[in-house]
């Protein structure tokens, strides 16, 4: 998934590059990493010029692209019953998928959500592919993004392997269960449940709080036995802050549920991993985001194997999606230098609400 981790963990380098390019010479080199991290998302510099304009234009093209893509699908759906999708050349769809995923990747990273959570409802609602194949591709998109971000997260210490492994193991078991159920249930039932879940995720994004550095007075016995703790370098204060976790048994149960939902809907689970790690277990926000990526990469693997083994991953759908999302994510990270993160987040919430309603209505047979 273009994941919370990718957002948070790419920020320092990206914002450093952004600052070097767009800020006055005297301010850029002296600004501390923490200062740049704190200020850039909310600052739009007048010197940004043409590149910023292009990025903004690209961003606002997304809704138009989605609507344009929805039109042929709708028109075709309303067309002949015998060969509903034969009117459009075969290559139009993978190309359109690549373009849409490119735009989704652009907004997923700066909004701090995973690509999978946008991919499945949008592609499942507006493209002519069966939901089975969309969910298979969604899992691959989520897994690929998490894998790509993994090495730097681990090397920088933004992800903690000892925190991630037990949770990933639990989530990988339940994600297989989710995948099995997803392929066994009728598509309209899964689509309806997906629509409700996507609307729930949008609600979570609107209401969820985050704690940069949660207070954990006492680690629980299980986390102590497993040695789950670390030292977080706070760039703002320049201090090394020790962290520990609590409520580990509750966290394991919650990751069982999260893994199941990820496998069932193919949406990945960054949207749930980070709040669970941060708010429930008390993991510092950036370590939670990085470790979430590691959990996702392992948990999605087990479900992806199930989809692949069942023949539910078509390369013609999955590969353009992965490539488009990865390319868009690289551009999307630069968006933080020209647009407020809150603006992009609101756009993503609006898209999720629209896609969630569309998915729900399609599942209920009201808006086919």
């Amino acid at each position: 998934m273009m994941h919370d981790a990718m957002n948070l963990l790419r920020e320092p380098a990206l914002e450093w590059r952004g600052a070097r390019r767009v800020l006055p010479v005297h301010s850029a080199p002296r600004a501390s990493a923490a200062g740049r991290l704190a200020t850039i998302p909310g600052v739009i510099c007048p010197q940004q010029g043409g590149r910023a304009g292009i990025l903004r234009a690209l961003l606002w093209l997304l809704p138009a692209v989605l609507l344009l893509l929805a039109l042929p699908a709708e028109a075709i759906d309303a067309g002949t019953q015998a060969a509903p999708h034969a009117a459009v050349a075969w290559w139009v769809w993978p190309l359109a998928l690549f373009v849409v995923c490119f735009f989704m990747g652009m907004i997923a990273v700066p909004a701090g959500v995973g690509g999978g959570v946008l991919f499945v409802p949008i592609v499942g609602s507006f493209f002519p592919f069966h939901l089975d194949f969309v969910r298979g591709a969604g899992l691959l998109v989520a897994m690929s993004s998490a894998l790509a971000a993994g090495p730097s997260l681990l090397k920088n210490g933004m992800a903690n392997l000892r925190l991630a492994l037990p949770l990933a193991m639990i989530a990988s078991v339940s994600s297989i269960g989710g995948a099995m159920l997803g392929l066994a249930l009728p598509a309209n039932m899964v689509q309806t449940a997906l629509g409700i879940t996507i609307l729930g995720i949008a609600g979570l994004m609107i209401s969820a709080k985050k704690s940069e550095f949660p207070h954990v007075p006492q680690p629980d016995p299980l986390s102590q036995a497993l040695g789950i703790h670390g030292l977080f370098h706070d760039a703002i204060s320049g201090k090394n802050m020790p962290w520990q976790v609590h409520r580990t048994p509750a966290g394991l149960v919650l990751f069982l549920v999260i893994g199941f939902l990820g496998g069932l809907f193919g949406v990945g689970a960054g949207w749930a991993n980070v709040p669970a790690l941060n708010l429930l277990m008390g993991v510092p926000l950036k370590v939670a985001a990085g470790s979430s990526s590691m959990i996702l990469s392992v948990a999605s693997s087990s479900a992806t194997w199930y989809y692949l083994d069942s023949g539910a991953i078509l390369p013609i759908i999955a590969v353009p999606s992965v490539i488009g999302m990865m390319m868009g994510a690289r551009i999307g990270a630069h968006l933080l230098t020209v647009l407020r993160a809150s603006v992009i987040r609101r756009l993503v919430i609006a898209i999720l609400l629209f896609a969630g309603v569309r998915t729900l209505l399609k599942g209920l047979g009201i808006w086919m």
Partner: protein, 134 residues
């Protein structure tokens, strides 16, 4: 962050980097070969718009596509070759966990050794098709 310096974490990162890179390269090359017709497609590309709206079960029946690992034996066909990159990416986590197990064994950290063993067992069982109905 001190955990970035833990030996198992660094080894995991190194293996993850190379396996992911290999997976992406395989994904792009095989897909290009599939799309450009360098490898013939078992299911003609022109037919796909009539098939990708079917459920997995219906699609497999309509195209007589084998499931499981049988794609390995038809790698000369574009649609089967496209699966190799996906399989490599899906297998990255197994490789990464396997290489850190000796470190936990050396550290006598049996709790994490057991967790790694269970994680590999789950992933390998899923990859082997233990949970799949064929």
């Amino acid at each position: 962050m001190e955990n970035g310096g833990q030996p198992e974490q660094l080894r995991y990162a190194a293996v993850l980097h190379w396996t992911t890179l290999a997976g992406f390269i395989a994904l792009v090359i095989t897909f290009a070969a599939y799309m450009l017709g360098w490898l013939p497609a078992r299911v003609p590309l022109e037919r796909l718009p009539q098939l990708w709206g079917l459920s997995t079960e219906e699609y497999l029946k309509a195209t007589n596509t084998p499931t499981g690992w049988s794609w390995l034996f038809t790698m000369n066909q574009g649609d089967s070759a496209g699966q190799i990159g996906i399989a490599i990416l899906s297998g990255c986590s197994i490789a990464c966990i396997l290489v850190i197990m000796p470190i936990y064994a050396r550290l006598r950290n049996y709790a994490y050794l057991a967790i790694c063993f269970l994680a590999v067992a789950v992933l390998a069982a899923s990859a082997a098709g233990v949970f799949t109905r064929h």
